[in-house]
């Protein structure tokens, strides 16, 4: 389908597609099997300005809109969701600074994020605080000119690979939602360390670790926004990042559909290619319908967000749910179309199926997304 992209957007798509085809796809099996962080690809993306894309122009970026970022991520996700996650996690980690950071913090960090010199990570989740961010136990206490952080973050993407971490910690335990604040921790700050890399089902090359803060002391001015605004920053960050996850879903679904359809063209059974059988055709048709629906909703949501940046929660949640549920279903069906071959690691669809699952979980489970949508509906119909 022609989505009437601008010349500039088409150029971004073509470039992301080229890198995906020439670098990501040839290396994805290697990175899946070795579980190594895809540093060379991340650096290539940086050199080609993909980190600048999500940084505002005044801080050395390209100031790309949600739509631009979504288009780029879709193509990289088409190649490998694990590698795309390693890239996207820097955007997620930098968003709190872009959203709530002081001019000084923005000047200090964002230009280097834009060049890829600094990679970022976002530290929210803890063992007792997943979907319920209210359970956060990491604390930050002001001691003279320094904040002292204590606590452990769990399953943090880019852990050990990022140079800066945006971390939410409780500063005023009795103030509830207004008792949390956002901080920037640098990888070499005293008292900060990362745990071993987790062993995951999918997106294996993306680095996932604990972040451990033991009397981690950071300068006072690393507080992002005002004290007590941490949760608001988190919500705005996730609103901004969810369409990115949706685009990984659309990319993965398209890749799975392409694999399934091209296999069905060449695989012969009972004397004809299996794409000639209606049972297969209908599966492929459903995969195509769902993939294009997800993409169309995603693009529409991205355009809406670019036009109405203050009204993004609902559409951002909607496209995330739709696209990632579609990615899971299409990947499962792609394995079914390839059948025995699909189950073998020689073909890429089993990896796609493993990778798809995380999309329904991270950056807010699809159940939480539905809560967000439900609450927004509740608000709308109260008027």
């Amino acid at each position: 389908m022609d989505h009437f992209l601008s010349e500039d957007q088409q150029a971004i798509v073509d470039l992301a597609k080229q890198i995906s085809r020439e670098m990501v796809i040839p290396k994805r099996v290697h990175y899946d099997e070795t579980e190594e962080y895809p540093l060379d690809i991340v650096e290539t993306l940086a050199k080609s300005d993909f980190f600048a894309l999500f940084v505002p122009e005044e801080y050395g970026g390209l100031g790309g809109g949600c739509y631009d970022i979504v288009l780029a991520l879709e193509q990289i996700g088409y190649g490998c969701v694990g590698i795309a996650t390693a890239y996207a996690a820097s955007a997620l980690g930098a968003y709190p600074i872009i959203i709530g950071g002081s001019e000084e913090l923005k000047q200090k960090y964002l230009p280097k994020v834009a060049t890829g010199e600094l990679r970022a990570a976002f530290g929210l989740t803890e063992s007792n605080a997943g979907s319920d961010a209210g359970g956060i136990q990491t604390t930050a206490v002001l001691d003279g000119d320094e904040w002292v952080l204590n606590g452990t973050k769990q399953w943090i993407t880019n852990g050990g690979q990022a140079h800066i971490y945006t971390i939410i910690a409780i500063t005023d335990p009795h103030k509830g939602a207004r008792g949390a604040s956002m901080f920037i921790v640098e990888a070499d700050d005293p008292g900060f360390s990362c745990g071993p890399k987790e062993k995951k089902m999918g997106i294996r090359c993306s680095a996932t670790t604990e972040l451990i803060m033991k009397d981690c002391r950071i300068p006072k001015d690393r507080l992002v926004g005002r004290r007590g605004t941490g949760f608001i920053t988190v919500m705005k960050t996730l609103d901004k990042s969810r369409p990115g996850i949706a685009s990984l879903g659309v990319g993965l679904a398209q890749a799975a559909l392409d694999e399934a359809a091209s296999y069905a063209k060449v695989r012969h059974q009972f004397g004809k290619p299996i794409i000639a059988f209606q049972a297969v055709q209908h599966m492929l048709a459903d995969m195509a319908i769902e993939t294009e629906s997800a993409r169309t909703l995603l693009y529409a949501a991205a355009r809406h967000i670019d036009a109405h940046p203050k009204d993004m929660s609902k559409v951002s949640a909607m496209c995330k749910v739709k696209a990632t549920d579609v990615a899971m279903k299409v990947a499962i069906d792609a394995v079914q179309v390839l059948a025995g071959y699909g189950f073998m690691r020689e073909y890429p669809v089993e990896k796609m199926m493993r990778d798809a699952k995380i999309l329904q979980i991270y950056e807010g489970t699809n159940q939480i997304q539905r809560n967000v949508i439900g609450q927004e509906l509740n608000k709308e119909y109260t008027k």
Binding site: A11, I12, L15, Q18, M23, K47, S48, D49, L62
Partner: protein, 261 residues
């Protein structure tokens, strides 16, 4: 450091197929691309500019369609691009080509380093680099696989030889032809693509470069192609069949005979 990189548009070898019936080149849907070696020359130019400052100008001699590869060069970090294009250049052999390119490069002035790919994959002559250096009265080194150090007077580099490699020091200005081992070419950047879209590539004609018409095109080319034909097709192949042991025995026999034959 002012660097000129010469690039050529060639048919993409991936797409070139021999039509099995007519045994002629089937060029249906064949894309035109930057000569693969020239990509490495481009990358080396941009890399040296990033390290030592200066400008990179890419020059291509070819039909108007060759603007596409110059645009691509801009998107990959070149500062300027020049197309050298005139029907009067048609039929140029390497001698006429080096004359034409040298006239265009002289017009840009003040060049410290000229970089070329080792050879172009359509002609495979590897003659334009050395010939161009002679025309520009520059020292040159071919098949450079690594540039070690660059000062304002000399470049120290490694050139591939058939039996190993030589470490060579060459005075500037110089022309170098590179092999693919020299670097890994980068992808375009988003900024580069935007710059390339806005960049209006100048096209020099024979008159613009002050060329002597007698030295251009077919008339300026001492060599003449007198006949072009498809190569003899390979004779029938023999497929070896049988058990692994039987095949191995036959292969050992073939290896023995062919290697001494």
């Amino acid at each position: 450091m002012n660097i000129v990189v010469c690039i050529k548009q060639v048919p993409d070898a991936k797409d070139v197929r021999l039509d099995p019936e007519t045994n002629t080149l089937s060029r249906d849907g064949v894309k035109s691309v930057i000569n693969p070696y020239d990509r490495h020359a481009m990358e080396e130019g941009v890399r040296l500019k990033e390290e030592f400052g200066g400008r990179v100008t890419v020059v291509s001699m070819g039909p108007p369609q060759a603007k596409a590869i110059l645009q691509e060069a801009i998107s990959c970090g070149a500062d300027d691009a020049i197309l050298v294009s005139d029907r009067a250049f048609a039929g140029s052999d390497t001698l006429a080509t080096t004359y034409t390119l040298s006239q265009a490069i002289k017009k840009t002035g003040g060049v410290d380093l000229v970089l070329c790919g080792k050879q172009a994959t359509d002609g495979d002559t590897a003659q334009v680099g050395p010939g161009l250096a002679v025309r520009l009265d520059m020292a040159y080194v071919t098949c450079v696989k690594k540039i070690n150090t660059v000062t304002d007077k000399v470049v120290v580099l490694e050139r591939m030889m058939d039996d190993g490699y030589d470490e060579v020091e060459v005075d500037l200005p110089a022309l170098l032809t590179v092999v693919k081992e020299v670097n890994t070419p980068r992808f375009p950047s988003i900024r580069g693509l935007r710059k390339a879209r806005a960049y209006d590539i100048p096209s020099y004609t024979a008159a613009d470069i002050g060329a002597d018409p007698a030295q251009l095109g077919l008339g300026g080319s001492p060599t003449q192609v007198v006949r072009v034909w498809p190569p003899e097709p390979k004779g029938n192949r023999t497929m070896l069949e049988g058990s692994v042991d039987e095949i191995a025995e036959k292969l050992a026999e073939i290896f023995h005979e062919s290697s001494i034959g």
